[in-house]
Point group: C3
Chain length 255, copies 3
């Protein structure tokens, strides 16, 4: 397998030298292209990282290596894992970050072979000392089973998928984007579109739009680009105007 | 034409998975280098995007493909257009973003050939589903006239260029940078430098400096790096200290 | 020497077109890979840039060209310098940014050969007009001594390294990261770990941890990923909770 692309997802931000050090280690060890997915996951927010990954990973080339470092437990007993799925490889701490990538995975490994780690005494920066050199090794063609041992499962974060309660389907807001759209975990394909009704907190929503622009005033549902139902509002931030935040329940039903 | 560079300009920010998805689509379809110009255009701010592009595009290699997605009307009837100018290719929604690139364009096209779009039902993310694969097609050598049909003009945003009123030239502030410099639309080459006088709101400006550092206290004019007149102040943010924002009128005249 | 990597460190931010213009100039003149270290150094903060560089440069490939533009004196008499150290090349204004890179440098040059500058009348953007084309020239194999003249030293910023006062070693906080860790200039190898005691302002610190996670409540010392002593707190921002900012004195002693 030729692995020509390495994609980085971290909570390191742009002001600190951490992403820069990781990229240096990778560039030192492979010619694979290094891509920034984001370094702006909120600090320690494993759940945000999991949803971010779920929304963009499918669009990446076959064999892409995703290096995902949101790692509040760095240096503790938490494992480093690799999950292979649809030819994609995901490296992450075993803390729930790969919750959605684990489903349907072809193989799972714990990364244990210190031969591919940097020889550093640091216990605080596995992104640089373990994730980066292991990603580079994979890009150079080192096999997964040389890097560690197969495992049966990886850790999931505590998450209740949407469920039915009579005629009502209940989901939740899983992300709010910079435009103020509130993204839910309700898969559009399972919903009675286009005549959907619903509620989030005290706010009733009684229509579904197909574009953000051109909509009448007031909140509406829209099928977002990942196939998930979103709550939006014309010419403004639905999150701000309606007080929507991650975790809020969203109820929908057919008209 | 070998098109080896793709440069991205969006309002997607770094926290959301949108730029990451776009880059994945492009990397899946071409080996051209992917460059981030910015993803931090303020949400929906087509005018800011137009000025950003005007200030940096000239410095890019011949044949660069600029993918510009600030697209409040995504999914509505607004067109997707391609403008060719000085060997550069600009892809954008037809909403004024290419106002300054249209002038002197060699060719203009509306992009209509769905064969090069992703097969997605999404109406909300043309950056990923249309702009990205079309950019990759262009990088692979697909000709513009295979992608759509020639058009005569593209949309401009509502903009009044500087004008003379007796001895006074009247322009406006078009951008404020992170250092607090207020950039105007007054071309330095058309002004009676270095003895320029001027006014913005209640603030009189009576000198022109050639460097930001080393200047005496108080506001001054300086010719910025794009040849546009700027209003600055030593050791601080002119925008903050003088209350300068985009759209404010600036009047200048010879001493 | 084949110089395949160019790494950028600036205070230009992501909203303005300055980093984008620099990258265009470089991409126009060399095929070397262009990497963003950061563009989020606080405006004009030469000291932050120097510490950023010190923490990440060692991890980059041999022969990397670092283009460092935090340049409040742009256009004034300040020199542009190049420092070679461990095969790495550092280009920067001579304002202290290379304080830590100068130590042990193999060669130092003042960059004076205008033949490699852009032919621009701008006095305000040497990042684009001088640093970028000079970096590209170096990547293409132009020798340092064709670009300028050897010099004996470069400017350091005003900095007092840690010193002993009786049994106490006195250092200072040199950076606060986005996780709220306060990074000091105390090299861990010179300290009586793991039984270190210390004080910053009114706050006493009486233990050393090896991981951020799993620590008991209260502040602690930890050896950070660059070998520098840090002050941290479990599940929160030490900087915020303890009021730690750059420049504060930190005293440590053996138990």
């Amino acid at each position: 397998v030729h692995r020509a692309n390495i994609a980085l997802l971290t909570d390191f931000g742009a002001r600190d030298p951490y992403a820069a050090a990781m990229k240096g280690v990778i560039a030192s060890r492979t010619d694979a292209a290094i891509h920034d997915l984001t370094h702006e996951i909120p600090p320690y927010d494993v759940v945000a990282a999991a949803w971010f990954l779920r929304q963009c990973e499918a669009w990446w080339p076959p064999a892409t290596i995703f290096v995902c470092v949101v790692d509040p437990g760095v240096g503790t007993a938490r494992r480093i894992v690799a999950v292979e799925r649809n030819t994609h490889l995901f490296l992450a701490p075993d803390n729930g970050l790969l919750t959605f990538m684990d489903e349907g995975a072809a193989r799972r490994f714990e990364i244990t072979n210190a031969k591919h780690f940097l020889d550093s005494s640091s216990t605080t920066f596995h992104g640089r000392d373990r994730f980066a050199p292991v990603a580079a090794a994979l890009a150079r063609g080192v096999a997964l089973d040389e890097l560690g041992r197969p495992i049966d499962s990886t850790r999931k974060f505590d998450y209740t998928p949407p469920h039915r309660s009579g005629e009502v389907t209940v989901g939740q807001i899983v992300a709010v984007d910079r435009f103020g759209n509130a993204i839910t975990d309700l898969e559009a394909t399972s919903l009675p579109l286009p005549t959907l009704l619903g509620r989030v907190g005290d706010v009733a929503i009684d229509r579904v739009e197909t574009t953000y622009g051109g909509a009448q005033p007031g909140p509406f549902f829209i099928v977002g680009s990942s196939g998930l139902l979103e709550i939006s509002i014309a010419n403004g931030s639905a999150a701000q105007k309606l007080g929507l935040t991650r975790g809020l329940s969203v109820e929908v039903w057919g008209a």
